[in-house]
């Protein structure tokens, strides 16, 4: 079992090293190898999508078999999934029927869910200061209001120059940009650390981490 874990770690480290070295060394064989590896990753990503699909089917099938509450919805889910998949595999995704299914079901549902978010966010904003009455919450809410006020001119009023020309740009392009840059740098540093841990073999999220008791 230890050998299997070591084998996976070797694969991960070797693949990562080939990819990293390709950033700095311009060798034709290395470039070709990188392209090949990336193409294989693309293929495996599509397989992973099917993996998720099968897992979804298994979960809801189990829910139906165990006759849990809401099993009828799982049945509906599986039915709609299979219908769409069969039609898509048979007709291709660019077929008019697939477009119809997409436009009539997926698009309106997703858009409607996003539309409901406006109501929910408004409600949450109203109750924010009642729940968390501190300086940070006030800064947060005031900033949001100022940005919203500066985004669109007021009805029947029009532009408020100080809002649209001064406050909003300063907040969005200076203050928020500073914070965003710090966040981006921090995220990049975290990605760098995590990636190096994986490449060094210290972290094995692919299921062979001995520290987690995995084989």
């Amino acid at each position: 079992m230890k050998l299997k874990g070591l084998f996976s770690a070797v694969i991960a480290i070797a693949t990562g090293l080939v990819m990293l070295v390709g950033y700095f060394v311009e060798l034709p064989i290395l470039v070709n190898l990188r392209i090949t590896i990336l193409n294989w990753v693309i293929i495996l990503a599509a397989v992973a999508l099917f993996l998720g699909l099968f897992n979804l089917l298994a979960v809801h099938t189990k829910k139906i078999r165990s006759k849990e509450k809401g099993g009828i919805y799982s049945l509906i889910l599986i039915f709609s999934l299979l219908i769409t998949l069969i039609i898509g595999l048979w007709l291709r995704p660019d077929h008019a029927l697939m477009a119809l299914i997409f436009k009539t079901i997926q698009l309106p549902v997703e858009t409607s869910l996003m539309a409901m978010l406006a109501v929910t966010l408004t409600y949450a904003s109203i109750r924010l200061l009642r729940r968390r009455n501190n300086l940070i919450s006030v800064i947060f809410l005031v900033t949001a209001l100022l940005i919203l006020l500066g985004t669109v001119p007021l009805p029947f009023v029009g532009h408020v120059p100080i809002l649209g020309d001064l406050i909003r740009p300063f907040i969005a392009q200076v203050l928020a940009a500073a914070g965003a840059r710090g966040i981006l740098i921090g995220v990049a540093l975290g990605s760098l650390t995590t990636g190096l841990r994986v490449l060094f073999g210290a972290d094995r999220p692919y299921g062979s981490d001995p520290s987690r008791g995995e084989k």
Partner: protein
């Protein structure tokens, strides 16, 4: 080939045989030592194989008791130090036999059992027959272990006592050593024996069977009238060469035969039953009584009145209680016996029985019983204890005599004991000899258990002392008052948890729902009215600074540029992105570009298709479809676009179409336009594809929610153009009003968007203020309450 005479039946057998061919009795003892090996064996040493009758009396060299099987010869025991305790008559007998040569010490307690041979052993015991230890001690220093007193030897040759044989009062031939028997018998006749309620002759564990008792009788009791000293030494080889006519059984012995029906557990012994016509009645009676006893611990409660007086003299004290502290650990019972007070008359082997030795520990009498039995006898006989007559030996009169006798004259000089005998000697005996034979040493007898009654047994653990009964603990839960209170309060808490509580949150739930409904209604009205009425109350959007850069980039594209368009937004924000990207794409279309459409989202291709179909005059474009793999896929496409996206959405090879003619690398595109609603997707394209663009600009049309995280990339120059949300689209559309005729999506949405945002801002402001005031008042009231 040498011959061995069976101790049970007396028949000759081959020397190589282990068991008698006639009766099955063991011919050779379990442990035999070389007669030349006389080195003492200390505890812990390997026992030396020894000969003949130096078989343990059921006791291992290190004090571990072992059961004596049928035919086994019990071990001998050295009781030389009990010489003072011996009665004078025994000493006299010994003196008579001091001149006789010792018999061949084959087995001290031969298979015939006890010193009283029950088989057809009519031949007198050999002169060199081995003396039992208790008797050999009597002639310590004077004789070798192999010497058998004539009086014992003669007795041993007597025929075994048969059960049922009527007790006959056979007058004992008057002799110097047998007067005591006659006297005992006379005394027994004269006075009634005490009730059987007296001290039990034997402790339960060591009670011998009747047949064992019969076997336990010394040979001289049955044989002294008939033969001289037998060839084989008996267990009690007092006078092996002392022949006694078989018919001259002492009356006391014959009297003991009178009650054969008392003990019937033990079957009659074989050798005894064979030619048993000469068994005294008392032996036969005892043999019959032994049948009734249990196999494990046969007990013979021989009435005291039946025991001869001479035996009664030697009756020891009652066995000690089981609660008495145990004797020193691993001290053999024999050892414990050997260090008894010199005042005690009871020899070791007798005292062991008194102290309730385990059946396996039954000393020589039991062993002799079993040895006397044939192989076919029941198991009951295997665990026979000492005969009653031995147990009834009380150190009363004898005790008085013993010290006196010991103090008067040590008639028997200590003899150099062979190694096997020394091995059997208790440690205390050795120590006593080395220190002071008369040293009084208290020994704690074992209390209970298999070693019950034995002294000198090691305690269970050093220093613990007496064994105690384990303390009985109650199974009920013992709780203090405080614990009971805590338990009761916990029980109340648990009960309270399970109790249904009135729902007090319904009013709060209603108010929450009401507020949500109001907000939804206001927003729907605010958005719906402008849409429904089409009124335009809001002026155009603010012109952001990045808008001009974007317009400049598109204006700077050459004619018929190949532009890569990335449709990486979700259907949820398709309205915003389409509204924001429409003016940009329409502006781009002025250049007649060759468009290549790609998406890292599965729904991107179809969104792109629907978007492109909405354009009045759709341009020439190739839909490269879905690019899987996330950042790795983007990097793969950036390094080699034809390899990463080989086919179009329709399944046609993409890079051979006229639209993508001459395009082999990402840098071959004139511009890259990324439409995304997700800041992470935008960052991925910037990080992975930005290095491969070279001079081609990357323009992003993003959702308002992605602006904060994408703007730093615009500020850093990694993105050349940026259009943000509906407001950016509106502004872009306003900037190109001269070019685009008619109302675009942004125009249609702008008033509703503005109205909705305005009312939302009002609600947020009013609600925030009210929430802040309420929270402040609550905090103030809590502070006042606290104060």
């Amino acid at each position: 080939m040498a011959e061995l005479r069976c101790p049970m039946c007396g028949k000759p057998n081959s020397d190589e045989l282990k068991k008698c061919a006639f009766c099955g009795a063991r011919l050779k003892p379990l442990l035999a030592s070389s007669p030349d090996n006389r080195s003492p064996i200390h505890p812990g040493e390997e026992p030396v194989e020894q000969r003949t009758s130096e078989v343990k009396r059921g006791i291992a060299p290190f004090g571990e008791p072992e059961s004596i099987q049928a035919g086994d010869v019990p071990t001998g025991e050295n009781i030389a130090d009990l010489e003072p305790a011996l009665p004078s008559w025994l000493r006299d007998l010994r003196d008579q036999d001091s001149q006789t040569p010792p018999a061949q010490p084959e087995k001290p307690f031969a298979d015939e059992g006890w010193p009283f041979p029950t088989g057809a052993e009519s031949a007198p015991q050999p002169a060199d027959a081995k003396l039992p230890d208790w008797l050999s001690g009597l002639e310590a220093g004077a004789k070798e272990e192999e010497e058998v007193p004539d009086w014992l030897a003669s007795i041993r040759d007597k025929s075994p006592i048969q059960p049922g044989t009527p007790a006959e009062e056979e007058p004992i031939a008057p002799s110097e050593g047998t007067d005591w028997l006659g006297r005992l018998r006379q005394e027994e006749k004269e006075k009634p024996a005490p009730t059987a309620g007296g001290a039990p002759p034997f402790p339960p564990e060591s009670t011998p069977t009747a047949s064992a008792l019969l076997e336990d009788l010394p040979d001289w009791s049955s044989d002294r009238k008939s033969e001289p000293a037998p060839d084989k030494p008996g267990p009690i080889q007092a006078a092996p060469d002392e022949a006694k006519p078989p018919e001259e059984l002492p009356t006391w012995l014959a009297g003991l035969q009178g009650e054969p029906e008392k003990d019937t557990a033990v079957p009659p012994t074989g050798p005894k039953s064979a030619p048993s016509e000469e068994l005294p009645d008392w032996l036969m009676k005892l043999q019959a009584e032994s049948k009734t006893l249990t196999p494990e611990f046969p007990r013979i409660d021989v009435p005291f009145e039946e025991s001869p007086d001479w035996l009664a003299k030697f009756e020891t004290k009652a066995p000690p209680a089981p609660e008495e502290p145990a004797a020193p650990a691993f001290a053999s019972p024999m050892e414990s016996k050997s260090v008894e007070e010199p005042g005690k008359i009871m020899p070791d082997w007798l005292a062991e029985f008194e102290e309730g030795a385990a059946p396996a520990e039954v000393p020589s009498p039991a062993g002799l019983e079993e040895a006397a039995l044939p192989a076919g006898e029941s198991e009951a006989n295997l665990l026979m204890e000492t005969p009653d007559w031995l147990s009834m030996l009380k150190p009363e009169g004898g005790e008085k005599k013993a010290p006196a006798g010991a103090a008067e004259k040590p008639e028997i000089a200590p003899v150099e004991l062979p190694s096997w005998v020394q091995a059997l000697r208790p440690v205390e005996a050795v120590m006593a000899e080395s220190k002071a034979p008369q040293e009084e040493e208290k020994e704690e007898a074992a209390i209970g258990g298999p070693l019950a009654g034995l002294s000198g047994v090691l305690p269970l653990s050093p220093g613990l002392g007496a064994l105690r009964k384990p303390q009985a603990y109650s199974t009920n839960l013992q709780m203090t008052e405080g614990q009971q209170r805590h338990a009761a309060s916990l029980e109340r808490l648990v009960a309270a948890e399970s109790e249904p509580r009135p729902l007090s949150g319904q009013t709060r739930l209603r108010s929450t729902n009401l507020l949500r409904w109001i907000i939804a209604l206001v927003l729907i009205l605010a958005v719906g009215l402008p849409l429904a009425t089409g009124i335009q109350t809001v002026p155009g959007a603010v012109y952001p600074s990045e808008l001009s850069t974007t317009r400049g980039l598109i204006n700077g594209l050459r004619a018929n540029p190949s532009v890569l368009m990335i449709f990486d937004y979700e259907p949820a924000l398709s309205g915003e992105l389409e509204a924001a990207a429409s003016p940009v794409i329409e502006h781009l279309l002025l250049k007649s570009p060759r468009l290549a459409i790609l998406s890292t989202s599965p729904t991107g291709p179809i969104l792109a298709d629907s978007f492109m179909k909405r354009i009045t005059t759709p341009p020439e474009y190739v839909n490269l479809g879905y690019l899987a793999g996330g950042p790795a896929g983007v990097l793969g496409f950036a390094e080699d676009p034809p390899a990463a996206a080989t086919y179009t959405l329709e399944g046609v090879p993409a890079w051979q179409t006229p639209t993508l003619q001459g395009i082999q690398a990402l840098s071959d595109f004139a511009a890259v336009l990324v439409l995304t609603d997700n800041p992470d997707t935008g960052r991925t394209w910037i990080e992975q594809a930005g290095l491969y663009l070279n001079t081609a600009p990357m323009i992003m049309v993003i959702s308002a929610q992605a602006e904060p995280m994408i703007r730093p990339y615009y500020d850093s120059g990694q993105i050349k153009g940026l259009v943000t949300g509906l407001a950016g689209g509106k502004a872009y559309e306003q900037a190109n009003e001269q070019v685009f005729q008619g109302a675009g999506l942004t125009r249609r949405y702008w008033d509703a968007f503005s109205a909705g945002l305005f009312l939302a801002e009002v609600m947020i402001l009013v609600g925030g203020l009210s929430g802040a005031i309420v929270a402040w008042r609550v905090r103030r009231s809590k502070a006042e309450e606290g104060a």
